[in-house]
């Protein structure tokens, strides 16, 4: 045990990919401490590097900067005191439930006889008694993740890392499993000393953890540390619970900024290029229509998530797009449709496209892309060329996603055309 009593300390951890001009910072100066007995949640939008952090903490990956201290010692290689439960369960499909648990014990040198009894005991504790000889394909998602938990606990880890463990499950199984895990944890039935859970589900974080570390992306960094001081079992209708959820939404959804801040700069220019949120345009129309039918054209963002049955990550991306296009304003956790958004929501299919086109023509990224196309020979460009240019602002994967989104929006607005077989972007005649 180290002097300050921390189980885990991360100081100024950074993760940088690529080099030279195409350098991209995935995580910047991340600090975190974890004490014994704590259940912390890392919450943030897709792409903020939270899963990468989990791998760094487990020792699967070495960060490019900063220090990882475990029990007062710098972490070298895989942390034998930590284990991860994956979103995909990561069970061996060719081993039975029992063998899946036993193999973890075997790797740790537990003799055969002890292995069996320990595995059976663990399966019993997670409620899988009677399923020992079943193969993973015979089980439902919730049960599979129970096996995942049993296997993780088999090695009696001090630190249990959970990588979105419930997001591949259906709503009911996820809820049941959350309860089961909390029961094991708060009841002290497992030797685990601390839990660190990665999630993009705001309610889940508030429901389970004692502390929420809220992250944002570009680059991945901490934007808020929130203590959850509610006793278990927590009630979702409890005003204090709702208040916390609302606060997280408020921080993550942010506040609509003045236009020039909101839009950012074009690729290649100084300043940050605003990334296009990767969304489906039909969802966007759906959200606007929904808001249009609300009293005062206003809604509480966290209430929206429940009402529309979308996960918080998706909803936040949609809201980001709505703000960026100037259809609505966000302030203090509320979203309000403005007159332009109202017009869009009530317009015909054709006029919607026209409104959308005028809105995206204002975005620096689109301005840049359209002028690039106008200036080029035959008003067309290869995908790869545009992507390479975008890679000056974004890392490779993100540049690809940006271009994908830009083409999707451009096609809808009838500004761009794209031929997939030749991978060439064209300017639509109307946009020239």
């Amino acid at each position: 045990m180290s002097d300050n009593g921390y189980l885990l300390e991360l100081s100024r951890v950074s993760q940088v990919y690529g080099s030279g001009e195409r350098q991209f910072t995935a995580i910047k100066d991340f600090d975190l401490t974890l004490k014994e007995g704590e259940f912390a949640a890392l919450l943030g939008p897709t792409g903020c590097g939270k899963s990468t952090l989990l791998r760094i903490i487990a020792g699967l990956q070495v960060p490019t900067g900063g220090r990882v201290i475990y029990r007062g010692r710098p972490l070298k290689g895989v942390n034998p005191q930590a284990t991860i439960v994956f979103q995909t369960f990561a069970l061996f499909p060719w081993l039975t439930v029992q063998e899946n648990v036993e193999v973890a014990l075997k790797a740790h040198g537990v003799p055969p006889k002890l292995r069996t009894s320990r595995a059976l005991d663990l399966l019993d504790r997670v409620g899988l008694d009677g399923f020992e000889t079943a193969y993973p394909r015979e089980l439902s998602g919730g049960m599979l993740q129970k096996v995942g938990f049993a296997r993780a606990m088999a090695v009696e880890p001090e630190l249990l890392c959970l990588d979105e463990p419930f997001s591949a499950l259906d709503v009911l199984s996820a809820e049941a499993l959350r309860g089961d895990l909390l029961e094991l944890w708060t009841g002290g039935k497992i030797p685990t000393k601390a839990i660190l859970m990665v999630t993009h589900h705001i309610e889940e974080a508030v429901f389970m953890s004692d502390r929420i570390v809220v992250m944002d992306k570009d680059p991945g960094r901490v934007i808020m540390n929130l203590k959850v001081d509610l006793p278990h079992p927590r009630l979702r209708k409890d005003p204090r619970f709702l208040n916390l959820v609302d606060r997280v939404y408020m921080v993550l959804a942010g506040q609509t900024q003045p236009e020039h801040v909101e839009l950012g700069t074009a690729p290649g220019e100084p300043g940050r290029t605003r990334a296009l949120p990767h969304i489906n345009i039909d969802d966007l129309s759906g959200l606007l229509e929904y808001l249009d039918n609300m009293p005062n054209n206003r809604a509480d963002i966290y209430a929206l998530a429940q009402e529309l049955q979308v996960n918080s990550d998706e909803l936040l991306r949609l809201i980001e797009a709505v703000e960026l296009l100037g259809f609505a304003n966000v302030a203090y956790g509320d979203i309000t449709l403005n007159p332009l958004g109202e017009t869009f929501a009530e317009a015909s299919i054709r006029s919607r496209k026209e409104i959308f086109a005028t809105r995206i023509r204002r975005l620096p990224l689109f301005k840049w892309l359209l002028s690039l196309l106008r200036a080029s020979d035959k008003k067309q460009m290869e995908w790869d060329v545009v992507q390479k240019a975008l890679e000056l602002e974004f890392h490779e994967e993100e540049a690809e996603r940006q271009l994908d989104t830009a083409i999707d929006w451009g096609r809808y607005a009838e500004l761009l055309a794209y031929d997939d077989s030749s991978q060439i972007l064209f300017l639509e005649p109307g946009a020239a």
Partner: protein, 573 residues
């Protein structure tokens, strides 16, 4: 989806580099040259044992042949595990090993025979050298697809499973046993089936062999068939063929089918498969109490003890990550030395090539063109009948139930064994050996196409078929909009393998002995065979290299592009 899809796939993510190929080709040339030089030291006249054509000798010959095949197969597996693991785990090794594998695949195995044989005879006792070279030959016909399969499996293991095995602290044995081997199991078994088929195809060539005055032969089924053919003994030929087919069917029923049925558990999907492969032998074994008792006592317990031992034996991975450190300086020195030797031998091999008269080079070019045309015709004929047949079988489950086993058995008969019979019939027809050569290529390679097309046609989604019905598309429209695009990737995959096989087959197809007569036609295969028979090693080297170059160039320029197009545009997933 049909498991046949798992075999004969080129690694799509990997794009070879031209310099890599150049290095590999050069190295290969050196190797051939070295073998030939060694071979020049072999005894001048060799006579093998007589092959007895009485059917009562067949069981004995069969055992000998099976033993060779099995030895070569075990060797192939071991080689694949080592080679594939190296290529998958070391960046630098991958850069060299993958292009090498790609070219080795397209090397005509039969031209390697004289090289292997003669060099072994020069350094080992005759009998041992013969056995060994026969096994090596069979090995080269079995190994490449297995190696590719293993490499591909290792590089496609889901990331979370890999991470899990690290987080749980698996040592290399546990990782191999719990993760890598099970993940690769189905592909490895399917490829083993393909490898054995390849082995049967070349068995005849690997057991009897003449190079100049040196007449090598090994007692075995292949030699028996060959001898029967060259003596024109039809009843012996029929006996031999019968035994061969029976053996292949028996192996299929008693080994491969049960293994495939058993390996269904290694599917990655987390859902039950719809039509798992079945095997009556496997079902019988599973329900047999005697077998359960024996296997528990004789297999399971010792295996478990061994497993525990090995688990303890291998060190738990240390704290360092699987970081790729720089190799030791000794490796650089060693590598440098190898490069120097190779360059020198390459220079000498080049001199040997320079000594070849212009006329022979011309003959090689003409031969290549002739063989190319033959391969092309064989492919067209194969496509012409396999596309309609394959689509008919693939889209009609009832027909498939009937025809598929029949087709599988027919396909498993090695074309080389049928060749003498074929020659007998075809030689009377106009076209003679020219026609027979195309037919042999066809016989050997059409099955890859057929199987692939069946697989492709059966993977067409039912909804799309309904849609074409609802749209009342005409027959041609339906083929154009649905069937042809849907089977296109499968046709390409099948064609790649088929063409590779056809080039290889040219060596036996264009030059043959039947009833004491030697027959040959224009073609690079004939040149290689003749050069071998006459002991003209410079010509052999030149023709083989030219063939390798042609095959790998067409692969690069034509097939790989088509393959990429197919993968990107027409893959239904």
């Amino acid at each position: 989806m049909n498991p046949l899809l798992r075999i004969f796939k080129i690694e799509p993510g990997w794009r070879g580099s031209a310099w890599g190929d150049a290095v590999v080709l050069f190295g290969l040339g050196v190797l051939l040259y070295l073998g030939i030089r060694l071979g020049l030291g072999a005894p001048a006249v060799i006579q093998g044992p007589e092959i007895n054509l009485s059917p009562s000798f067949l069981p004995h010959y069969l055992t000998l042949s099976l033993r060779r095949m099995a030895a070569a197969y075990v060797l192939s597996l071991l080689f694949s595990l080592v080679y594939g693991t190296l290529a998958a785990n070391h960046r630098i090794a991958e850069k060299i090993l993958l292009p090498l594998l790609d070219i080795l695949q397209s090397v005509p195995i039969l031209s390697f025979l004289p090289v292997v044989l003669l060099s072994l005879v020069a350094i080992l006792p005759l009998q041992l050298a013969l056995e060994l070279s026969s096994i090596i030959l069979i090995f080269t016909s079995q190994v490449w697809n297995l190696t590719f399969a293993w490499y591909q499996s290792l590089t496609t293991i889901p990331r979370d499973l890999q991470r899990t095995s690290v987080v749980l602290g698996f040592n290399s044995w546990l990782r191999f046993k719990t993760l890598e081997l099970p993940f690769a199991a189905i592909t490895l078994i399917w490829n083993s089936v393909a490898s054995w088929a390849g082995g049967w195809f070349f068995l005849m060539a690997a057991e009897i062999f003449a190079a100049g005055d040196r007449n090598f032969r090994l007692p075995g089924l292949g030699a028996y068939l060959q001898e029967a053919a060259s003596q024109g003994n039809l009843s012996a030929l029929a006996w031999g063929l019968g035994v061969l087919i029976l053996t292949i069917v028996a192996l299929d029923q008693f080994i491969w089918r049960p293994l495939l049925a058993w390996s269904d558990r290694f599917k990655m999907q987390l859902v039950e498969s719809e039509n798992p492969p079945t095997s009556w032998v496997y079902d019988a074994l599973r329900s047999s109490r005697l077998y359960a008792y024996v296997s528990r006592r004789l297999i399971f317990s010792p295996w478990q003890r061994l497993d525990e031992r090995l688990t303890r034996l291998f060190p738990v991975p240390g704290p360092d990550l699987p970081g790729k450190g720089r190799p030791h300086w000794l490796w650089y020195v060693l590598g440098g030395l190898v490069v120097l030797v190779v360059l020198y031998e390459g220079y000498r091999g080049g001199q040997m090539l320079l000594g070849i008269p212009l006329g022979q080079w011309q003959a090689i070019v003409i031969g290549l063109t002739a063989t190319f045309i033959r391969v092309f015709i064989a492919l067209i004929i194969a496509l012409a009948w396999t596309i309609p047949t394959g689509v008919a079988i693939g889209t009609n489950p009832r027909l498939a139930k009937w025809l598929q086993p029949l087709v599988q058995i027919t396909a498993s008969v090695p074309a080389t064994a049928l060749f003498p019979v074929l020659v007998l019939v075809v030689l009377r027809l106009p076209g003679g050996l020219n026609l027979a050569a195309v037919l042999l290529m066809l016989l050997g390679t059409q099955w890859y196409l057929l199987f692939n097309i069946i697989a492709g046609a059966s993977a067409i989604p039912q909804d799309l078929k309904y849609t074409t019905n609802l749209l009342q598309l005409g027959r041609w429209e339906r083929w154009r909009t649905l069937i042809l695009p849907a089977i296109f990737p499968f046709v390409i995959t099948g064609s790649i393998t088929a063409c590779g096989g056809a080039w290889n087959a040219s060596i036996v197809a264009e030059y043959t002995q039947f009833g004491g007569r030697i027959m040959y036609t224009t073609g690079v295969g004939a040149i290689i065979s003749q050069a071998t028979a006459a002991g003209d090693y410079p010509l052999l080297l030149a023709a083989t290299l030219a063939l390798i170059l042609t095959v790998s160039t067409t692969n690069r320029l034509l097939w790989r592009r088509l393959y990429r197009l197919a993968e990107e545009r027409y893959r239904m997933e």
